[in-house]
Amino acid sequence: MSLFQSVGRSVTKVDSFDKAHGRAGYVADLPWPGVWNGAVVRAQRAHAMIRAIDVSAALAHPGVHAVVTGADLSDLFPYFGHYRADHPILAIDRVRYWGEPVAVVVADTPQQAQDAAFLVEVDYEDLAAMMDPEAATADGAVLIHPEHLHDTATFGAGAFWRPGAADTNEAFTTELGWGDVDAAMASAAHVQTTQVRYPMLYPYPMESYAAQARFVSGTLEVESNTQHPFQVRRDLARIFSLGLSRVRVTSMTIGGGYGAKSYSKIEPLAAACSHVVGAPVRIALSLEESMYTSRADGAQVRVTTGFDSDGSILARDITVLLDTGAYTDNSVRVLRKSLECCFGPYRVPALRARGRAIYTNTTPASSYRGFGAFHTNPASEANLDIAADRLGLDPLEIRLRNLAKFGESIIPDTRPVDSDLASDLTTAHDALSIEPRPSKLQGMGFGVALSPEGADPTSIAIVRLLVDGTAVLLLGSAEMGQGSRTIMAQIIAEELGLDHTDVAFAPVDTQLVGFQWTTGASRTTSVVGLSVQRACHDIRRQLVEMAAEVAEQSVKEWSWSGGKVLGPDGTELRAAEVIAQWFGSDRGEVVGVGRTQKRGDLDQSPVLWEVGVAGVVVSVDAQTGQVELDQLVTVADVGKALNPLNVEGQDLGAAMQALGGALFEEIIYDGPQMANSDLVEYRVPRITDLPQRVSSVLVERADGPGPYGAKPVGEGAMTAIGGAVLAAVARAIGRWPDRLPLTPEYVWDLMNSGEEVDS
């Protein structure tokens, strides 16, 4: 029998009925009455000065109210960006990438606005376009940000990252290391160098970016599909010089986020347009426009490892170079986390890791599920696989020899590893088998990743226990399909003795719910869940006090047990009875508040460690180079699965999403413009890519810092797939790829190249 009533059960998700019936309420489905619609005029240059913008023809188009340009924002702080406010809401004097917003046509209907947007004429003076880090760092490169105007305190003393060198296109840098790497390399029996390039990706949440904004009684109201309403609120308050209480950001039902909807995206643009035209304005982007709004960083990762003769790691020397695009956005964190993940969950006595992010004239890069970990895992794991070959070791053996054990810190003075990684990896390995297929080249690959998650653990949860015994949760976490509402309802049900269907949810509205740092970094169940649990405990404490007060007895004689308030003489009261006795019938409620911060159990960094373990078997068509997945195994080491079916869905979803970057997906620039800003040319995993043999193994040891021993879920498989697929294909074709994705052309070229490529 389970210890628990609600958590640990695969209850039906609380929002799935509405979603199955098309009633879920995404922001683009709920335009405000009378709202005007904005269409964005986008730069048709990668790098240029704007000489003039002629809006006259657009203004004369039927239904058009205004054409807003950067010059109209002079009474605002016209930039956003949470690390470095380098991102103009609308281009000011220059454009830094193809597709950058230059103007917005505001009209009655979306169609009128779009038609008129074609009539806006922009006169450009071309600048040399820096399309990749190589060009951007070459001698004589043209500066993309001639002045680093808005470096905030984040780049000040004590930060892990530094601004890039002056008068270069280096955006920022960071380093991580310990021990004497040079001495260790000199003493190594074998030194292996491996380089793997990870492609730029578009996370492709199926719902594109959309927002509507208006000013009501001096308050800016914005509805959007942001994952981070409180981060957006901060940007908007700065832009409009408003107090935080005068900025109301509501995150609606989100049609997929995966990090792509973190921080501000088009909310500043919609709000600035509303400010300029003096009316509510709605902007809903197409997929192509969304690909011009944000992407994931591309990475060049080079790993050199010194081993002793038995395969033990002596030192790793790693460089990570990010192509971060035109603006900083969250890539500061992407770069830092890349270094924290790049050496894998291994005991590394000496490490030198150096990261650089380079501005280029491409779509600005930011978060994507598992960033930093998925970027670096293929190079780090391939490096071990190749070294194992050279040393005559089995690839499982070399990992088991070096994997950090439970309780060891892989980075000095950080939270120790809270998982049995060797057992997890062995589980995946043992589940893999090659079932021979005629005329296919087959191979097996597997690997492990560990990534620091949880971000900042600040969360404030408010639970209202109503007089009839039902509850309302006020929480700033966005529901984007990860199932957080269901999980939180299960936690409240568990803690207060309710049915999870008795829990309702307030809108994710910054004027209503308590502060929430972000919805990301796999922090919702394990960190936010703790704050919800604590809010329930606050309610229990109040109920006990209220019952004691009504009975005119000491509070020490009353307690909470089994979902009820217990008195000294065997009295058992339901919560609703206590409320009715204290307030009187049909009135009152108990409001519980729970908070988490970087204190107590969550003081150590990182707040959470997320485990990624995956294995695959692939078949390669010897004639075409096409790769198919025959088998996929993931191990979800989640401490405690609060909803096992949901965990399984998150785990397989992450694995299949990562398959995209491993086999198909890559944003391509073969000139100044993105060459594949559509779903025909940007090919994502389809249902026919799902292998016949799939298993997601759930490991529950209740060893995490979250509620009931939970650990993070949802990014792990994403972080380990790249290396596993790369190794499997390498073993199938006898060549080590040096980049992803493993498209048929690339694999065919590798198969037919003369020499083995191993570095």
């Binding site: 949440p205 199926m206 049609g255 979803g653 999403q657 994502v684």
Partner: protein
């Protein structure tokens, strides 16, 4: 831009609507009729999010012209269930199997699977995958969606 009055039977009701020749069916459903259950994602007939049924057959309403439904029968997600409180077999299977995460692909998937089972009540896994290859889901990794297809086929078979 020429305007056209069209008449269609949408979710069991006769509807009249004036649209431009270029107006996609999805735009008519959403903006003219307020049927926001139909989602648009890729806009170029690849992802299947906008799938609706026209005379029982799945079409991509993002590129199917509204004028082309004149005189036809259209089913959107709002018309998939027998009534507002209950779910169709396919909807219920998606709910029960955990096949819904963000939900953005779900309306299109529900209608595509409905059409699949009309055409082939007992599809093999390969037949189902082939039929549904035009419906992309970014969240689930497709495993629970395949579970839902199998479950819907089984329950549908047992009810007939």
């Amino acid at each position: 831009m020429s305007e056209h009055a069209i008449r269609a039977r949408i979710n069991g009701k006769d509807v009249e609507c004036t649209v431009q020749a270029r107006t996609p069916l999805a735009t008519m459903l959403r903006d003219n009729l307020g049927l926001y259950g139909t989602k648009v994602s890729c806009g170029i007939q690849v992802c299947g999010a906008c799938t609706v049924l026209v005379d029982g057959l799945p079409v991509s309403s993002c590129t199917y012209l509204a004028v082309d439904v004149d005189g036809r029968v259209v089913t959107t997600i709002e018309g998939a269930a027998p009534d507002r409180q209950s779910s169709s077999v396919v909807q219920q299977a998606f709910i029960d199997c955990g096949a819904i995460q963000c939900g953005y692909c779900t309306p299109g998937y529900v209608l595509a699977v409905t059409a699949l089972l009309e055409e082939n009540p007992t599809p093999s896994d390969d037949e189902a995958r082939h039929f549904l290859d035009g419906n992309i889901c970014r969240c689930t990794g497709y495993g629970h969606i395949m579970d839902a297809v199998r479950r819907a086929a089984t329950i549908r078979g047992s009810e007939q």
